[in-house]
């Protein structure tokens, strides 16, 4: 992971910063240069809700090499309370723990490592609430 590529995503990955369209109110995550809903080009920074519900999930058993020591791990699509959807890992969970429709909270976790000597990459993962 080249540091510059990582640093650009920090506001989104660490703090869930998105862009709210000033014209139609649609929240883009990550923010964009043009709104896919109304084509407006003006946005304001907004911080996403960190809770939502699980729309679908899977358990990855065969992963790319950089994730191969972590298998099996769960990945899901979470719809946050403000309607924004994100793909993320569901941490601390395994087969049998997870169900579609569960409440999920986003937490701060290590997502990947660039080998033994490269940078550590952090961001959001979901955990099942209660």
């Amino acid at each position: 992971m080249i540091p510059s590529r990582y640093v650009r995503e920090i506001p989104q990955r660490y703090r869930l910063e998105g862009g709210k369209c000033l014209k139609c109110g649609h929240i883009n995550f990550p923010s964009r240069l043009i709104c896919p809903e109304c084509k407006s080009k003006e946005f304001e920074k907004t911080v996403l809700q960190d809770e939502g519900k699980l729309l679908t999930y899977t358990i990855i058993r065969v992963a790319a090499e950089k994730f191969s020591q972590e298998t099996p791990f769960a990945v899901g699509i979470v719809e946050l309370n403000d309607g924004v959807r994100v793909t993320c890992q569901i941490a601390d969970a395994e087969e049998g723990d997870i169900q579609i429709g569960q409440r999920i909270k986003l937490v701060f976790r290590k997502i990947q490592e660039d080998g033994k000597a490269g940078i550590l990459c952090y961001g959001y993962k979901g955990v099942i609430v209660g």
């Binding site: 703090r15 890992q89 941490a91 601390d92 937490v107 290590k110 550590l120």
Partner: protein, 348 residues
């Protein structure tokens, strides 16, 4: 009034029982449990480290303090397991919490007392009027060498404290530090696991410094053990803090609320700070708390806190330590634990 305005703790959901570790190496589980007064310990997930633990503990501290993160002028993280050898842990913590960039950060290391060092300096900066708020964090994902006695206790967790002058929940009345060159436990640069001096870690190290700092603190404050409702000492296992407390004149009852090691293990830099959060979770206004940490090398930091009315407003704003410790556990086999703690040599 200067003191803690927000606090929070975090510990992972994974656990391993002392029995499981003992069986792996051929120890008698019952005598280990009895000798160390230890049942189980926390284990970090593969995606957890001192940085993620610091962030989650700090989020709770911020939720309790309800302050603007931008007003925090310093963030110090004490740990003996900083994920980067060179690059401060707090650089990531402040960006995750939207603190800064006008903020002073540093990584501290002093074996198990790096967390109270961070708290001490955060407090000092606020007291010196350098800034409105400062945060001190103690967090670790400590490692004991496989088969070593340390492996029964070395665990993961952390606590964060925001120091300030307004809406203080626990006023800091007195502090004291006690330090000497005592090589009871160390890790040389480039080594993976720490080494220690066996029984030398007891009397000449842990007890000498805890008692030294503790007695000096009592003398400085002109207080007596019975003036305190609670006391918490560094918890390398379940037994040592009980013995240290007794030697200083504290009762079992005073230690009970903060005595979390038997079910959590030793979270190193997070140990006595997490014990302090467990006390704040239950303390009532006006009550006094006596705290002494210990870090090998060696040294101890002592604090005396007085809980204020504000505690009743803030403590329910975030999850309490005992709730995390007693619920949502997932037990690991030694094999899973070895994988989670990266004790197995794999092909990269």
């Amino acid at each position: 009034m200067i003191g803690i305005v927000g606090y929070g703790a975090y510990l992972p959901r994974y656990r391993i029982k002392v029995d499981e570790i003992a069986r792996q190496w051929g120890y008698d589980p019952d005598s280990v449990k009895k000798g160390l007064v230890l049942h189980e310990k926390t284990v970090p997930g593969l995606d957890e480290d001192t940085i993620t633990i610091s962030v989650e503990a700090s989020k709770k501290a911020l939720r309790r303090a309800q302050i603007d993160p931008k007003e925090i002028g310093a963030v110090y993280v004490g740990s003996e397991s900083h994920p980067y050898a060179v690059k401060p842990t707090a650089t990531i913590v402040i960006d995750a919490l939207d603190i800064g960039p006008n903020v002073h950060v540093a990584s501290y290391e002093f074996a198990c007392k790096a967390g109270t060092e961070a708290m001490y300096n955060a407090y000092a900066l606020v007291k010196a009027d350098e800034m409105k708020y400062a945060m001190g964090i103690g967090a670790d994902t400590s490692q004991g060498a496989p088969g070593d006695a340390l492996e029964f206790a070395a665990s993961a967790g952390g606590a964060a404290f925001i120091m300030g002058k307004e809406k203080v929940v626990a006023e800091i009345l007195y502090t004291n530090s006690y330090t000497s060159d005592t090589p009871d436990f160390w890790r040389r640069e480039g080594e993976y696991y720490p080494r220690h001096g066996g029984r030398f870690t007891g009397e000449p190290a842990y007890f000498k410094h805890i008692l030294g700092a503790g007695m000096a603190l009592l003398e400085k404050s002109k207080m007596k053990p019975e003036d305190f409702k609670y006391a918490v000492f560094h918890m390398p296992n379940g037994k040592f803090p009980q013995t240290a407390g007794r030697k200083l004149g504290f009762t079992k009852e005073q230690l009970e609320a903060g005595w979390i090691a038997p079910w959590m293990g030793n979270t190193y830099s997070g140990s006595s700070p997490m014990g302090l959060t467990a006390i704040l979770d239950v303390a009532e206004p006006g009550e006094l708390i006596f705290m002494v940490s210990f870090g090998s090398g060696a040294g101890s930091d002592g604090f005396i806190f007085r809980v204020t009315e504000e505690i009743t407003n803030v403590r329910d704003r975030a999850e309490k330590l005992r709730t995390m410790l007693d619920n949502n556990k997932k037990y690991l086999t030694y094999g899973e634990y070895a994988k989670y703690r990266r004790k197995i040599i794999i092909n990269e």
